[in-house]
């Protein structure tokens, strides 16, 4: 039997159409691969073998005709799947089975995908390393001593390790793009409002977007087409047409104006990362793209603004986890003690840290100095991009300042960890789309990612630029040895 796990979604669809591959066969490939490698990677938060086989059987029985029929996809553990465990990799949601499907899950089910399980993540998406999960850290398939990135580290690692064909993640400050970069896969954060957030357990509601993590840009376009679009259940979802992103899979950047923000190419940028990004710039130049230096002057404030806004919103979003209606409850005779003990026991250190920071920033007397100030600075950051897009169509940056760091390296210094999202955060603050595509490997063999950012709702432009780069990049994809 073919090892379908190594296929891309498009390749697998071709095989299914040509050779009538059964979902059951795909499921057994997945099981075999999982048995072989997931003890090392730990990419799944929840995996139910019986359910996977039942689902595969149902897909075979119904001769599903959806566009992504039988394609196995992992769903990040903060996205609700009806009647299945959805725990945000947190002890506080222990045993919680959502009674409803997130809108993206409904769409993926309609498209015929084979839901393969819930992927591991930083607890409540609080992290850039996938180390804060209550199920233990996910490991980078390229170096098991290193982090896969986060918070969608499980999703990225599963795709990189060929445990699934594609995965869904969520991106609040880079949580799709950063792990995709560190695991050598493609990660896409759509424009805020492009993909419904209904059923995504909120972290920073004004920043969160769901996005695909895939093996290549083609799969990314295929998945985005399924999950994007207006949802009446989400007041912040935008009612505009969704183009067929596969028509943007065109190799052409001739005349495309690409901006290089000078604030992103600074000291502290890893040498290998800089070298690979420089090579990418040269390559795109050779293909006819026109480069210019641009300035995003408020970049230095982005991390501060992000942590105030995201933690404030999170402190409120996570208030509902109190042991009353679902999840963990600590037995205490008084209600107040029940609340406090449940939340002490249920939340990990990073969650507590962020809740306390956010509560502080919103509390009486501090609101203006922190939250309001951050909201105003956010406006300035957004205006930087508006200004920049007057002189370019696409902005190109490294996705991360360094390749994957070692597990445990930054856990004791939260601020250092926070700064690893410095290149991805601004797009969330501005609400604009970004994609990370692999652009080579460090001397140590670790993947490096290249980020393209575009104007609001120009997902098509991003796909075209990223696809052109990917198809011409010319480096050999190295599969991780596991």
């Amino acid at each position: 039997m073919q090892d379908f796990c190594t296929y891309t979604a498009r390749q697998l669809r071709q095989a299914i159409e040509k050779d009538s591959v059964k979902a059951a066969d795909i499921a057994s490939c997945l099981l075999a691969r999982r048995n072989a490698v997931d003890k090392k990677v730990n990419g799944f938060a929840h995996f139910d073998k019986k359910l996977l086989l039942e689902r595969a059987e149902a897909l075979d029985a119904n001769e599903s005709k959806g566009p992504l029929s039988k394609i196995p996809i992992a769903i990040k553990d903060n996205i609700c799947v009806k009647d299945e465990l959805t725990t945000c990799s947190s002890k506080i949601l222990d045993g919680f089975k959502a009674p409803y499907d997130a809108t993206v899950v409904t769409r993926l089910k309609q498209a015929g995908t084979l839901l393969a399980g819930k992927s591991n993540m930083d607890e409540f998406a609080f992290g850039s390393s996938c180390e804060t999960s209550c199920y233990g850290p996910t490991r980078n398939p390229y170096d098991l001593d290193r982090i896969p990135g986060g918070s969608s580290g499980g999703s990225a690692a599963l795709v990189a390790a060929d445990e699934v064909i594609a995965a869904i993640g969520s991106d609040t400050g880079g949580s799709v793009r950063q792990p995709a970069a560190l695991c050598g896969v493609v990660g896409f954060k759509p424009t805020y409002g492009r993909v419904s957030r209904y059923g995504l357990i909120a972290f920073g509601s004004s920043l969160d977007q769901i996005g695909p993590i895939t093996k290549d840009v083609t799969d990314c376009a295929l998945l985005l087409k399924i999950i994007a679009g207006y949802d009446p259940m989400d007041s912040t979802s935008i009612d505009t047409d969704v183009p067929d992103y596969t028509t943007s899979l065109v190799k052409d950047v001739k005349g495309l104006k690409i901006g290089l923000p000078k604030e992103y190419f600074i000291e502290g940028l890893d040498k290998d990362v800089k070298e690979k990004v420089d090579q990418a710039v040269d390559l795109l130049k050779g293909l006819g793209a026109e480069f210019r230096e641009i300035s995003l002057p408020h970049t230095d404030y982005a991390v501060s603004v992000y942590y105030i806004v995201a933690c404030s919103e999170a402190s409120s979003n996570l208030a509902r986890f109190d042991g009353v209606q679902y999840g963990l409850r600590s037995k205490k005779p008084s209600l107040l003690d029940m609340y406090k003990e449940t939340r002490r026991e249920g939340f990990g250190m990073e969650a507590k840290r962020r809740i306390i920071l956010g509560t502080y920033a919103l509390s009486s007397g501090y609101y203006d100095a922190y939250y309001l100030k951050a909201q105003k600075a956010r406006t300035l950051i957004k205006q930087d991009f508006d200004e920049a897009f007057k002189s370019c169509d696409i902005i190109l940056t490294p996705t991360t300042p360094t390749p994957a760091f070692k597990i445990g390296e930054k856990t004791k210094e939260p601020l250092k960890m926070y700064l690893s999202d410095i290149f991805t955060i601004p797009a969330n603050l501005a609400g604009i789309p970004g994609i990370s595509v692999p652009c080579g490997y460090s001397k140590g063999g670790l993947p490096i990612g290249l980020q393209f950012i575009a104007r609001p709702f120009d997902e098509a432009g991003l796909i075209r630029a990223a696809y052109t780069y990917e198809q011409n990049a010319g480096f050999e994809r190295i599969r991780p040895e596991l």
Binding site: C88, P99, S316
Partner: protein
Amino acid sequence: MDKQVYITTIGLEVHLQISTKTKAFCGCANEFGREPNSSTCPVCLGLPGSLPVLNKKYLEHAIKVAVALDCKILGSMKFDRKNYFYPDLPKNYQISQYDMPLSTGGSVEITSTAGARRIGITRVHMEEDAGKLIHDQKRPLSFIDYNRTGTPLLEIVSEPDISSPEEAHLYLSTLKAILEYLEVSDCNMQEGSLRCDANISVRPSSQKALGVKVELKNMNTFKGVRQALEYEEKRQVKILSSGKKLSQETRLWNAEKKITELMRTKEQAHDYRYFPEPDLVPFKISPGLVQEIRDTLPEMPNDKRLRFIKEYKISEYDAAVLVSDKAMSEFFSACVKLYPKPKNIANWLMGDISGYLNANNMEFGQLKMSPEALAEMLGLIDKGTISGKIAKDVVVDMISTGRSASDIVKDKGLTQIADAPEIEGFIEEVIGENDKVVDDYLSGKDKAMGFLIGQLMRKTKGKANPQMANELLKKRLSKEKR
């Protein structure tokens, strides 16, 4: 010692449930009295991942109320989160409005024997209701029913313009009448669709600044509001006149003991950490929409009062009482069309009928009698078919059974006796049986006449035409020579 005079200042906060078909932010039925936890969904349960979407009808009704209370509709409004932990609040924050509410600066005109006065309305804002807690009487447990969560509410905050508990009561009745006329709420205090909290402070008349404010909660009837304010007014005056100081606090009305009890002091006041609700977008309310809604406003109680005085020539007082209850005023209007003596109708409505309803704790709307039935009965009195006294019994029968006056009169044989020989027959009996009283009468004791009439009425079961009975008895007694 001079007797110090104290000035009372009261402000009221009314919470009104809006009777839309569905809840404020989800499609669950907005109905009272369902089985516990049977009208809930992921949104109103605040389940992780769910998102609110505003009910358009709720906003329209809210605008209607704001316009009727002469408020300024602010062109754009937003929702905010009010964060506090309480088990009836599934998200541990309430979606409410903080610094950009629907409307501000309105007023309500109240009319008392002292004349008309305007009570200012500070603001009318929108917010969601919480669930219901039931406390176990024996075990240290509370039970939660989330059916009510997400019910659309309006908070109507008055200026501290109210100067006495009576005036507070009058303001509430007037406000309730306005709200009933708008047909946007059941306005039922028993079922909690209208609730009221109060702020009260007293100060010596020599002092300019307002006194220390005490907040009162847990009043379940308008009468309770008045009683609580009366109690609190006395309590505060007593403390001040003994030279002690008041403290800013929240107190609960205990309807059984008829006292207010300390709930929390200012030191324990909440830090609500308001911030803009990121899951809901801002709302722009165009002057066109406001005008459209203004144009559909029904006649308001005040206008109706003036019309009643002009059109039906009834007294200021009668008109004010009639219009204070929407159902009663409509009954009155319908009845006047069938029976053109408005004063008569008003007397019956405000007298026997209101008396019966009050005694039986019923609302006017629960009346089974139709305007046609009352008109017919009044006609029967005018024609002499029944006496006014008999009519008092007939009306009670009509209210409770809904039968017509003529049916009741026929069934019970209540037709008035207006036949002289028949009455004279009864008179003979009375005279024969009351020798001593007749003697008294003849010796000049006028009171004896009343007794004899009473006896005559008893014999005729009240059916004798009173005028004829009187005349015939006098005539007969004048022939008696002793």
